[in-house]
């Protein structure tokens, strides 16, 4: 018998955080919403095991990201994507204040966007990010540096490049 109360408490405590992270990673509210819910539903399927992990939220986040990455690849073949996922949902628009930021995030390569979100929004150390994305720490630092520079240029905000990655 799975612990529904435990899952509900976990979902309630973490779902907005994961949604926020997925929004920053995908730059699309509808995608973030769908991916977040799908990832949590998969967590419930395996809750007996997932609930014992040190960080179940990291499991959910990773599954959501992999689902997103898979969809992007399939979207390169529009017909196949339509067959597999149905017509695209109407995406809620970003608020006026966030239009520029969302547009800028879309311009950054996926790998850079992911490490920026994990480090700067999720708050993981460089080593933790490296573990989560299965890349060497040097690679993570390089992606962070390039991603910040790209973001700063797109937003015309020099302050974004002033921070160096913290271990």
């Amino acid at each position: 018998m799975k612990d529904a109360e435990g899952f509900d408490a976990f979902y309630t405590a973490t779902n907005r955080r994961v949604l926020h992270q997925m929004y920053a990673m995908t730059s699309n509210l509808a995608d973030a919403q769908e991916l977040t819910q799908e990832a949590y539903s998969r967590a419930w399927q395996r809750w007996g095991a997932v609930s014992t992990y040190d960080d179940p939220e990291a499991w959910v986040r990773t599954v959501a990201w992999r689902l997103a990455a898979s969809r992007w690849r399939k979207a390169r073949n529009g017909v196949a994507a339509m067959l597999r996922h149905g017509p695209p949902e109407h995406a809620p628009e970003p608020s006026v204040d966030n239009v520029a930021l969302v547009a800028a995030l879309k311009e950054i390569p996926e790998a850079q966007r992911r490490v920026i979100v994990l480090h700067h929004l999720t708050g993981l150390s460089v080593a933790e990010v490296a573990h989560e994305v299965a890349a060497p720490e040097g690679t993570v630092k390089a992606r962070l540096s390039r991603g910040r520079a790209a973001l700063a240029a797109l937003l015309s905000d020099a302050t974004l490049t002033e921070v160096s990655p913290h271990a």
Partner: protein, 266 residues
């Protein structure tokens, strides 16, 4: 935010990203009961699909399979028959269902993996025969090679089943085969097995590191298997030692497994 200690209090990138919260707060999410129901619906569906396969196998043992075969010869594709599995998407394979040159650029000391366009010579690696329990599947296989050091033996097998349930059953059987794979002759090699280990959401992997004798040959073998609906992709890797380091990393990581199944279908 899980671990803010990794960041200074006034991190400008964090402050920029936090501004997205206003959009997040106005975006509704399903309640936890709905999310659980969604997960349970998938579990039920998978269970029903698995039960149907078992029922079909039992029926086949009593000769009902002949009738099913007759239906197929009558031009009725199995996946179009009315059943609880009818709503499951059935995919055909891509014209080239294999990983492409450049998809895997470097693994440890090894360079890019290239598709040789030839079928693997060794059907059985360790004690795992990928095709042995793939009854009813169409199988396409290729050998992947690496020319920088020239000592990698890798293979990719793409299996297409008539239904998602059959694919799921095969996937589970392959995992069991890896789990049950004997340690060989301990007088000849010492082995260190890992897995089968789940790679969420739809994959697993298994590895064997051996200290070989001259006759034993290859020292590291890794199998990764992933599936989507009625398609399963199995990836095999053999080299002199684990190329990712001290037997801690994996060749078939989640991204490579996912890419392989994406290539197979789209």
């Amino acid at each position: 935010m899980r671990n803010q200690s990794a960041l200074p209090d006034n991190d400008p990138v964090q402050m920029t990203l936090v501004s997205l919260r206003s959009d997040v707060e106005r975006t509704p999410l399903a309640d936890s009961l709905s999310v659980r129901r969604r997960g349970e619906a998938r579990s039920r569906h998978q269970a029903v699909a698995g039960a149907l396969v078992i029922a079909a196998l039992v029926a086949g043992a009593f000769g009902v399979a002949d009738l099913r075969g007759h239906q197929r010869h009558s031009g009725i594709p199995a996946h179009q028959s009315p059943s609880p599995t009818a709503s499951v998407a059935i995919f055909t394979l891509a014209a080239n269902p294999f990983l492409r040159d450049g998809d895997i650029t470097a693994i440890g000391p090894y360079g890019e993996l290239l598709d040789s366009g030839t079928e693997p010579q060794n059907k059985v690696q360790q004690c795992i025969d990928v095709s042995a329990s793939a009854t009813g599947a169409s199988i396409r296989s290729t050998t992947l090679y690496e020319k920088k050091l020239g000592e990698v033996q890798a293979a990719e097998h793409v299996l297409r089943f008539d239904s998602a349930a059959e694919a799921e059953q095969y996937w589970a059987r392959l995992s069991s085969a890896a789990d049950a794979c004997g340690h060989g002759n301990p007088a000849e090699v010492t082995t260190n097995d890992r897995g089968p280990e789940e790679v969420p959401p739809d994959s697993y992997r298994w590895s064997r590191l051996s200290t070989p004798t001259a006759a034993a040959g290859i020292g590291y073998y890794e199998l990764g298997a992933t599936h989507h609906a009625n398609v399963v992709v199995v990836l095999e890797w053999s080299s002199m030692g684990n190329p990712t380091g001290d037997n801690a990393g994996w060749v078939w990581d989640a991204d490579r497994l996912q890419l392989a199944v994406d290539r197979a279908i789209t």
